[in-house]
Assembly symmetry: C2
Homo-oligomer: 422 residues x 2
């Protein structure tokens, strides 16, 4: 071990105590100041990003990677706007979430405090650098940021602006620490620091997340792939279902809340599937279907096991016709990644059965899977979407970066009387 990451984590831990002791107004002003400095630093950020893009192109990066990596004046403004939105949220710290007076007079409160030091391990999305820092600071945490090497210059330029904001607020720069040396050994080192790091959040492809989960000695909140299902019930409104299908599959196919599988009740298949197949074709979506689906278009490829388990992240969809809602639920239980499932139905009993039978992080009734997103669901912003049923499940906002502790006030209460009376 080089000790390089340990030094960063020690500094982050010291800085965290200072951040945790700030009041709500200070943290709000800090984030607003950081947003200003991102806008002031736009030219430097874009120049650094241009270098990253050039190197990525020379290294043969694909279109999706380049798209995630690329910044523009609009995207920098978007980052600044995200920081302002986080700044404007209710402050989560100190909030007394519950208060109970015990029969012996003890006043028992639950109160939100920061988690401590959060490590973000992510790929080539420079906007995560700013947004993760903002969410962590809002909740009184320090953050260690280890972004992908492709975005190293962009991340350094963004961190430079964030540090200027911290300095201007009289707060320690180490509250936002960039792991600038992106060698993988440093990730391994970071994942061992269970005495210094309270939580690691990996964001990126499945291989990155598996790597983190396998090597971590620190707690990890994972978000594996999103194999999201739309079930079109026999009682669905076909127009509504068609809207959810096209929105879920085509509005941004490369993200985790995009649809991957369509399940259609046999009773509505003849009314719905021909229109659905035509609309998917018109949107350039490749369809892989079971035999019942292929009866409506024999030219379709046949869907296999792998297709139902796949997160295509592309304009591809697997379709299956089911005999009942129970068969749809059984299919989802088998292939779900616990991310998002959608039912289209006008039958309240079917909707309730679907909600009750499934336990994914978000179950949607008559609305698009694409709404499983912190901003859309009212969290203001998100640091990730957890598919682990522990601590947080679904989109994680500022509140998911805190924990409730107990504060107990009494007047001398004891469990046992003193020896010899009293």
């Amino acid at each position: 071990m080089s000790g390089y990451v340990r030094e960063l984590a020690l500094a982050a831990r010291a800085a965290q105590a200072t951040i945790a002791a700030t009041d709500a107004a200070t943290r709000r002003a800090l984030l607003e100041g950081m947003a200003e400095r991102l806008l002031d630093g736009q030219d430097a950020i874009l120049a650094a990003n241009g270098g990253d893009l050039e190197r990525a192109r020379l290294a043969g990066a694909g279109k999706a990677t380049l798209d995630r990596l690329a910044l523009s004046p609009e995207r920098v403004r978007g980052m600044a706007e995200a920081l302002r939105e986080v700044a404007a949220q209710d402050d989560p710290l100190g909030e007394v979430t519950r208060r109970d007076v015990r029969p012996n007079g003890l006043v028992v409160e639950r109160q939100r405090i920061p988690l401590g030091v959060v490590a973000m391990i992510y790929e080539a999305r420079p906007n995560v650098t700013a947004e993760a820092a903002a969410l962590c600071l809002k909740a009184g945490n320090a953050v260690l940021l280890r972004g992908g090497s492709e975005a190293a210059a962009s991340n350094a330029a963004i961190a430079h602006c964030l540090h200027a904001g911290l300095r201007a607020a009289g707060l320690p720069e180490a509250a936002v620490s960039l792991v600038a040396d992106t060698a993988r050994e440093h990730v391994l080192e970071l994942l061992q620091l269970s005495d210094l790091i309270d939580l690691a959040i990996p964001r990126g492809g499945e291989s990155l997340i598996r790597f983190v989960a396998e090597h971590a000695r620190v707690p990890v909140i994972k978000h594996y792939k999103g194999v999201c299902h739309l079930y079109v019930d026999r009682a669905a409104d076909p127009d509504l279902a068609l809207g959810l299908l096209i929105d879920g599959k085509t509005s941004r196919p490369g993200v985790c809340n995009a649809l991957e599988t369509l399940l259609v009740h046999r009773d509505i298949a003849a009314a719905f599937l021909p229109r659905a197949l035509a609309a998917l074709r018109a949107s350039g979506v490749e369809v892989r279907g079971d035999s019942a689906t292929r009866r409506f278009d024999p030219s379709l490829a046949e869907a296999g096991e792998d297709d139902y388990a796949a997160e295509f992240l592309d304009l591809v969809i697997a379709i299956r016709v089911v005999d009942s809602i129970d068969e749809a639920i059984a299919h989802i239980h088998r292939y779900t990644s616990d991310h998002t499932e959608v039912i289209a139905t006008d039958d309240p009993a079917a909707a309730q059965a679907f909600v009750d039978a499934l336990r994914s992080s978000a179950v949607m009734v008559n609305t698009s899977s694409r709404f499983n997103d912190g901003g859309q669901l009212g969290l203001g912003a998100e640091i990730g979407i957890s598919t682990t049923r522990l601590h947080a499940y679904g989109p994680m906002g500022v509140e998911a970066l805190t924990i409730e502790r107990f504060v107990v006030r009494g007047q001398g209460q004891r469990r046992h009387p003193l020896p010899g009376g009293n």
Copy 2:
């Protein structure tokens, strides 16, 4: 891998779906029925326990181990009573904890669902078998119980009663699975089953917990040692402080919420310490002090670094005189195990400064550390006390065995308009 534990976990997972689908009344009746069967089975349980005790004595087990292992008619009644108390609690499942209508009309709810399959890994405390099972079932989970080998016969007898309760309720016995073969390799196997087990909770000595933390691929909620501090402020009521000291140190020295270190403000040392030392001596407590403490009794042993870091679990205490509340806080920051810290003071500003500066799972003002306990703090019962700032922090009751997911209801809302209008 033998596959033995994997088979148990697969069966537990299947059973969990059945438990999760039960209604509140069924789960309540289930736990009441289990309590009845424990009482009916008291003779068999005590006979099995007698065998365990005999084997432990022959193997040279110490007094503390034998005390934890020993059951009595009273302790069996206590187990049954604990099950009834858990049964009587509010049902945690299905509760909608938050509801928000978004500007686009989406109704976003957060709803409690079970975690899934919980693995308890514990030492020779047979009562944990019944209580952990009750808490897990109440929250709709299945549980895998791997108790210490010393308690194998007792645990089997208790599980026999729990299974009778499940059968009588028409529910699968596999919802409560005892890992009857207690070979350590099976613990290792269990800790790798990240596809089947949602949470592992180790309860026992530090070495057990470290073993679990080091080898787990499943999420773990840890509870390491409790190095609990009492700080007697300059503005403390000496009588009150003395009561907290004796209760915290002597009422049950072998438990995690017992006091290990006393910090005394210099201004109150002359008024408080001589009485404290006399009371500790009268209770048979061995004192290790710093030089300022030893001025009041030069016969005391000198406290070293190790003493301030120690969880004595015995009638031993370390004492230090501090110049200020800040010095007390700095001492606690250095040695805390994040379990429980207590201040005795009549000065509200000092109390607030203490609460704000520390972030242990419970911070107590003018009351005993011994109250950091699920039952005492109003949770009804506890499955453990978490010292990890993730998911749960402090005593964990039924609610800590659930997670909130998102349920979203709409009328066809999409993120993007359909191509070509609509």
